[in-house]
């Protein structure tokens, strides 16, 4: 049997990458910024609003309408190669005047760099931002989750549906600060709604039409699905 896999020690990094070491004695603010932040400032100028370094992690604040372009450049540029998307999420502050933040965590595996991108959405503005799905396929579910929990619409995402909550969930967006911890309805109301649900109606139109099974359904269910009506609402 040939060797099934090679055991490698140096990791996936390029020769010029930083030497990995456990971060120690990080300053609260004002440590060394990620070199990519300066390069972004040179390249994109006014689209970079601010660069912060907190606990050794660099955060770059972007203008909301340039996100996709900048992320594409970070991904493609051979001197940076941010090829790995760790996370897409959002932060809403307790202070209602503060803007809502959409956060991307990127990694450059070849250069062992970590970068946080943020864009601010002022209160009252439309919660909309470009999807990075065209660059990173891994953004698919992460963006759907951010939509599900915060109501942020990612422009250009192929399938912007709820993911953790069910599709007919009408109470709003659970991780928003105006959403009460126990939900908007009482326990008994939530239970009543859950018992009212018809499990048969949980197929979405898309799934049914794809299989041409729609015509085989009982007529009453077909009618209900066609009218977009799901029980219990």
């Amino acid at each position: 049997m040939t060797a099934p896999f090679a055991v490698v020690t140096p990791g996936s990094a390029l020769p010029g990458a930083s030497v990995p070491a456990t971060p120690k004695n990080l300053p609260h603010t004002g440590g060394d910024a990620n070199p990519s932040a300066e390069a972004m400032r040179v390249k994109f100028g006014a689209a970079i609003e601010r660069v912060d370094v907190v606990w050794g992690e660099t955060t770059v604040y972007l203008k909301g309408d340039r996100v996709l372009e900048i992320v594409q450049w970070l991904h493609d540029d051979p001197a940076h190669q941010y090829n790995y998307l760790s996370d897409v999420t959002a932060v809403e502050h307790r202070d209602a005047d503060q803007p809502l933040e959409v956060v991307w965590h990127l990694r450059s595996l070849p250069f062992r760099r970590f970068l946080r991108l943020k864009t601010l959405i002022q209160q009252g503005d439309k919660l909309e931002v470009d999807s990075v799905w065209p660059v990173y396929k891994g953004a698919d579910w992460l963006e759907r989750e951010a939509y599900d929990m915060f109501g942020i619409n990612f422009r250009g995402h192929p399938d912007m549906r709820r993911i953790l909550m069910w599709e007919s969930y009408k109470e709003g967006y659970p991780l928003r600060k105006d959403f009460p911890l126990r939900g908007r309805f009482s326990r008994s109301e939530q239970l009543r709604q859950a018992l009212d649900q018809d499990p048969e109606a949980r197929y979405s139109m898309e799934e049914l039409s794809v299989a041409d099974a729609f015509q085989d359904l009982p007529p009453d269910m077909r009618e209900r699905l066609a009218s977009g009506d799901t029980p219990g609402e």
Binding site: T2, P4, P20, Y84, E145
Partner: protein, 434 residues
């Protein structure tokens, strides 16, 4: 991709000249198993008709409550639509109403096969946010906890995957070994599954006297079990036939889909958080990162087996270097006073009361700390506004992102292979749905 040959042993044929079971090469071409001649159609009028089936959420092979809606052409999967969220309990929302130490029990319950590892990850994140440097003994104890829980999680993966694919015996062996780790954890912290092992700035408890003896016993005996499973499966005809060439992800695809952990390394990308973005002084331990090249179910199995062996190596070194000293940092802002002082001295009692009722307060800031969990890159992102409760506590769930690639992996394969591919992702629905 090159043609690939895996030699395996047939359990039913005769012996060769040396008296060993005869080995027969199984050839696959470019990641897809060599096609059989399709049998003649039984019902020609149904040809081309697609069928929807609903796998889960109550199917034992979906490892919890995953639901896959599969569109089938015969037995071939044309399309796969996963549905998750059946276990959603709003951990992140609850975290916004809890002090940092109060969140630690919630981390037990997300990836519940890896509770000590999650506790360690959360404590590291909170300590970054507080600007705390933990003690040397605490670091080594946390490495021991994290590696034990990696082995524990991989053993569950191994056992349940064997059951899914049709082998029963390795399941019993791996759960026996898992029981040994549970005994160790029970002696350490008193709990088996929901350990809540760490605190911000230290550990919930120091190891009891003589505990390292038990750990060393485990380190000595455990590799034998791995070897046995290895002998049982690695060149087993059924195992190879059911895993080789399934669910292939190329390195570029794997990185682009955000896969991490053994899923990514089986595709040939040597990214391990312990190696590339170290924490807990992992750069000072001598261990290898196993990387495979084909990116199929079989290689994920090989990578996880080797990872368990490497974890044993790390445990040996950690056990040997475990220094004496305190487990908690000497900082009254986050660490409770000793119990005898809190019961006997007024100042300590007030201090204890304030710390429990109000909680430690980190400065304004944010931190994303990722660790290498058994499933992949597990990140905790915390934002503080200076109060004792986080504004946002975000879990970056590795199996959530890994699972999002399942449509890509199963499409074109047989229905029975969906089970094997799904098992190879090593999902934990508690972590996916949170």
């Amino acid at each position: 991709m090159s043609r690939r040959t895996v030699e395996y042993e047939l359990s039913t044929t005769g012996l060769d000249a040396q008296g060993r079971p005869r080995r027969v090469p199984l050839v696959t071409d470019g990641g897809t198993a060599v096609a059989f001649e399709p049998p003649p159609s039984v019902e020609p009028e149904l040809e081309g008709e697609h069928m929807l089936i609903n796998l889960g959420p109550q199917h034992p092979a979906t490892h919890g409550v995953l639901r896959l809606v599969l569109e089938l052409d015969g037995e071939t999967v044309v399309r796969c639509i996963p549905h998750v969220g059946y276990l959603h309990c709003g951990f992140e929302k609850i975290g916004e109403y809890r002090q940092y130490n109060q969140i630690i029990p919630w981390t037990d319950r997300e990836d519940y096969l890896n509770s000590p590892g999650n506790n360690v990850a959360f404590a590291l994140g909170a300590e970054r946010l507080f600007g705390i440097e933990i003690t040397e003994r605490c670091k080594v104890l946390r490495v021991i906890a994290a590696e034990l829980s990696r082995i524990m999680s991989h053993l569950v993966w191994l056992g349940t995957t064997c059951i899914d694919i049709g082998a029963f015996t390795p399941f019993l062996w791996s759960f026996q070994e898992r029981e040994n780790i549970y005994k160790l954890l029970e002696d350490w912290i008193g709990a088996r599954l929901t350990t809540s092992l760490t605190r911000v700035g230290g550990m919930g408890a120091d190891i009891p006297a003589g505990w390292t003896q038990g750990l060393n016993n485990f380190i000595r005996t455990f590799p034998k079990t791995i070897d046995e499973v290895d002998r049982m499966l690695t060149r087993n005809a059924i195992w190879v036939g059911r895993t080789v060439g399934l669910g292939v992800m190329t390195p570029e695809e794997a990185v682009n889909y955000g896969l991490s952990g053994p899923m990514l390394r089986a595709s040939g990308v040597a990214y391990d958080v312990r190696r590339d973005f170290p924490y807990l002084d992992y750069e000072t331990y001598d261990f290898d990162v196993p990387v495979s090249t084909h990116g199929d179910v079989y290689d994920r199995y090989l990578v996880r087996m080797e990872e368990m062996r490497q974890s044993v190596r790390i445990l040996q070194q950690a056990s040997a270097r475990l220094p004496d000293g305190p487990i908690n940092i000497d900082d009254p802002r986050v660490i409770l006073p000793p119990k005898n002082k809190a019961m006997n001295e007024m100042e300590s009692m007030i201090h204890h009361f304030k710390l429990v009722m109000e909680g430690p307060r980190p400065p304004i800031g944010e931190a994303y700390v990722a660790v290498e969990s058994p499933k992949g890159e597990k990140g905790y992102y915390m934002v503080s506004d200076g109060t004792s409760k986080p504004v946002r506590w975000r879990i970056r769930p590795p199996s959530f992102v890994n699972l999002s690639a399942i449509p890509k992996m199963v499409e074109g394969h047989l229905l029975s292979d969906v089970i094997a591919i799904n098992a190879s992702i090593d999902i934990v629905m508690g972590e996916i749905d949170r």
